[in-house]
């Protein structure tokens, strides 16, 4: 039973990824839609990372006692300066761990 469920789940995840890149789907994207979709990468990825920072255990954690907020602010500032991604990971990660241990 579980095996069958897993197979069906695999079909669903593949379908959601593959459907719209299939050439035979009768769908033409006009210039407006393409322009709209050009915002998808920053918008979706942001919708993934922002809640990790601001929501802790189902509630809004908008305080300076939240180590996620301080460490993420540093990461945002470094990223805005186009610093190397590994440097950002290590610096803000170290800061995050230090804040958690305080």
């Amino acid at each position: 039973m579980t095996l069958m469920t897993i197979l069906l789940m695999a079909m669903i995840t593949f379908l959601t990824r593959y459907l719209f890149i299939h050439p035979k789907i009768p769908l033409r994207l006009n210039a407006k839609v393409v322009s709209f979709l050009s915002f998808s990468a920053p918008a979706v990825l942001t919708a993934i990372w922002v809640p990790i920072i601001f929501i802790r255990e189902g509630t809004l954690a908008l305080s300076l006692n939240n180590p996620y907020i301080i460490a993420a602010t540093v990461a945002v500032l470094l990223a805005a300066k186009k610093v190397n991604i590994y440097f950002i990971l290590i610096t803000s990660g170290a800061l995050f761990i230090a804040l958690k241990m305080l």
Partner: protein, 254 residues
């Protein structure tokens, strides 16, 4: 073939090979931060499956063919709790529905690809590969296809490895996610998104999407991720159109 042309051919194939291996290495290195950031989640997925009485084969099939982070976690809990099949599949569909946006965005770049590239790259089209596919010429030409396959493939292999560690060693390891290691995912996405903010319309899309994602999540909406992304995309798109209108009007006056 003369000796000289043979040597030339040999040298050319050597250059070609070293080019390919360099692209593969670059794809792997670009994906590395993301490969590392998901270690806690991969281990959690694997060990949770075993805790919920999955057989080793079933636990292996999750990363092998379902190949999804949050969908895997949630579905494992649902299966463990004997939820109805329809609930499990519907939940998987909702969590996975953001991928429709990825497919749509990449449609014009990927629909013309030969099957042998399109099917595997479609399978590998995770949040992570999409994050590395924003270049205007992504998936164009063999070099960029090899790059995509190498980066997406390395993520697949790593995800599988972390799951395997969770399956076989999960009971000996502490729950890494409780240590706050979800911060690693957030910071990797920050490092990818922030430098891509090149104009005010992208900035507005990011701010609106971020605000909505917090509000919708607190409200407990199931489609929170997709809806907040759509709100951000609309905001960015309309600002861009407004800016273009103003610009074309001021040019008319001149």
């Amino acid at each position: 073939m003369s000796k000289k042309s043979k040597q030339q051919a040999k040298a050319a194939s050597k250059i070609k090979f070293s080019m390919t291996s360099r692209i593969v290495v670059k794809g792997f290195m670009d994906m590395m931060p993301l490969n590392l950031a998901v270690i806690p989640w991969g281990i959690l997925c694997g060990s949770l499956a075993i805790q919920r009485d999955f057989s080793v084969l079933e636990a292996l099939l999750m990363p092998l063919i379902v190949f999804a982070g949050s969908a895997q976690l949630v579905a494992t809990e649902l299966i463990g709790g004997n939820a109805p099949l329809a609930t499990i599949l519907f939940t998987t569909f909702i969590i996975s529905s953001r991928h429709f946006l990825y497919g749509l965005s990449l449609r014009d770049k990927m629909k013309e690809l030969p099957n042998r590239w399109r099917y595997p790259l479609g399978f590998l089209l995770t949040d992570e590969l999409f994050a590395l596919s924003t270049h205007t010429r992504a998936f164009k030409g063999k070099v960029r296809l090899i790059y995509a396959l190498a980066s997406g493939g390395s993520f697949y292999i790593c995800w599988l490895l972390w799951n395997i560690i969770g399956i076989f060693a999960g009971s000996y390891l502490p729950d890494l996610t409780s240590l706050g290691l979800d911060f690693a995912i957030a910071v990797t996405f920050i490092a990818l998104v922030i430098p891509s903010i090149k104009n005010s319309s992208i900035l507005v899309a990011v701010i609106v999407s971020g605000l909505c994602s917090v509000i919708f999540k607190l409200l407990g909406w199931e489609l929170d991720l997709v809806l907040s992304a759509l709100m951000g995309m609309f905001a960015g798109y309309y600002l861009l159109r407004y800016q273009q209108k103003v610009k074309s009007k001021s040019q008319e006056i001149k």
